[in-house]
């Protein structure tokens, strides 16, 4: 084909021209992106904070103030308010007394990881509330885990007591099929959303099995009263 063509194609612009124009566009693009990050950063951080606080107050009905903590094998440390690596949120009531603790759990759901936040009462040794933080479950089916009142009834007083020496959860939390709940540590699943209800149960079980014994061990570092 090219052999038959009497006229050579006109020479294109040099590589330098191409590099310069692409570089120019990339620079404009960078400028726009940095600008939008600058403009939205505070608002996004604020939104995330509000969403988390809303979730904490939803799972700890008596709480009006929150203090962040980090709990791991090395101990329990109180964190400043703006910290982002907290994994334990202590809720205090209006009088400043400890109303409960909120912790996160996550497990694989039907579409993606389901992340939940649950409230735990030290006095009752039980879970007193649950809310879904992140889920992309099927609308109308799996997403009922966020808003089905019957399912949420499971988490009003879900037994999570420890063994005598506090080294493990006495009866690990488990999701059972809809209508098959017999024990206070079982979660009655949603019919039609078995995978998602099981994921919620698995997330809470994994989190309670790991965090509650640690909490028992380091409970001394927890502030009982904010204004003694």
């Amino acid at each position: 084909m090219s052999e038959q063509s009497p006229i050579a194609p006109p020479p294109g612009p040099g590589s330098l021209r191409l590099i310069v124009s692409l570089g120019l566009i990339a620079m404009i693009s960078g400028l726009f992106i940095v600008l939008s990050v600058q403009l939205t950063r505070e608002k996004i951080a604020h939104n995330k904070q509000v969403a988390l606080e809303k979730a904490i107050f939803a799972v700890l009905p008596d709480a009006t103030q929150v203090v962040k903590y980090k709990l791991d094998e090395s101990g329990l440390v109180q964190l400043p308010n703006e910290a982002t690596d907290a994994n334990l949120y202590a809720g205090y009531n209006a009088a400043g007394h400890l109303a409960g603790l909120a912790m996160e759990g996550s497990a694989r759901g039907y579409q993606d990881v389901v992340k939940v936040l649950y409230g735990y009462s030290l006095e009752k040794e039980a879970i007193i509330g649950m809310t879904v933080l992140e889920s992309t479950e099927t609308p109308g089916l799996g997403d009922r885990a966020n808003n089905d009142p019957e399912f949420h009834g499971n988490f009003k007083n879900l037994d999570a007591s420890l063994t005598g020496d506090g080294s493990a959860v006495a009866n690990p939390i488990v999701t059972v099929k809809n209508g098959k709940k017999e024990h206070p540590w079982q979660i009655d699943g949603i019919s039609g959303a078995t995978v998602t209800s099981t994921a919620v149960g698995n997330g809470i079980r994994e989190s309670t099995n790991r965090l509650l014994p640690l909490l028992h061990q380091y409970q001394g570092s927890l502030v009982e009263n904010l204004n003694p």
């Binding site: 294109g12 124009s21 692409l22 693009s29 939008s36 969403a51 992140e134 609308p139 109308g140 089916l141």
Partner: protein
Amino acid sequence: MVKDPRLPDPLSWQTFTTGLWKENPVFVMLLGLCPTLAVTNSAINALSMGLATTFVLVCSGVLVSLLRKVIPKQVRIASYIIIIATFVTMADYAIQAISLDIYKALGAFIQLIVVNCIILGRAEAYASKNPVSNAFINALGMGVGFTFALLCLGMVREVLGMGSLFGVHLFGPAFQPWAVFVLPPGGFFVLAFWLWLFAVARKRTARAQPATKEVADAA
């Protein structure tokens, strides 16, 4: 008369309305079906997705049109993609700042606006050949047409699948939602229904037009 496609398009009411009706991206060109099917399970998701896409369409159209004499032909696709990706990133941050709930509902589909062929198609076929004002109006028309199409699907699917519209419950607690409509198959059913409706409507207008012309000629 066939217009030379290299000539700029004269600015007219048509520039805006092609995207709404004659070349509606979803109902006529069947472009961007991935977000069309995936995020139209509720009216609010459909509206947010439509607005985000319109924003990217309009901004990238304007910038491509502004730079159309600067961008060498050999690297134009790469340039368009950088420009589109920039505005998608901006839309992503803006939605996070406006509402985290909507951001969570739309999931990965905001980032996937980058690969929406409506936008690259407009940049290549229209904005790179026309002045800024035309590119702006045309992209706006396409965006509104896309948003309209998404709303058509989203509203039907939400009403049938959840018994609500924009989150407001319509039928009371006795209503048994028709869950299949918020699931993927429901997206296909509703899309097929709208495509059929549009095809019938287009056929009718096509049949009616020559008749009116004859009448006008006779007069």
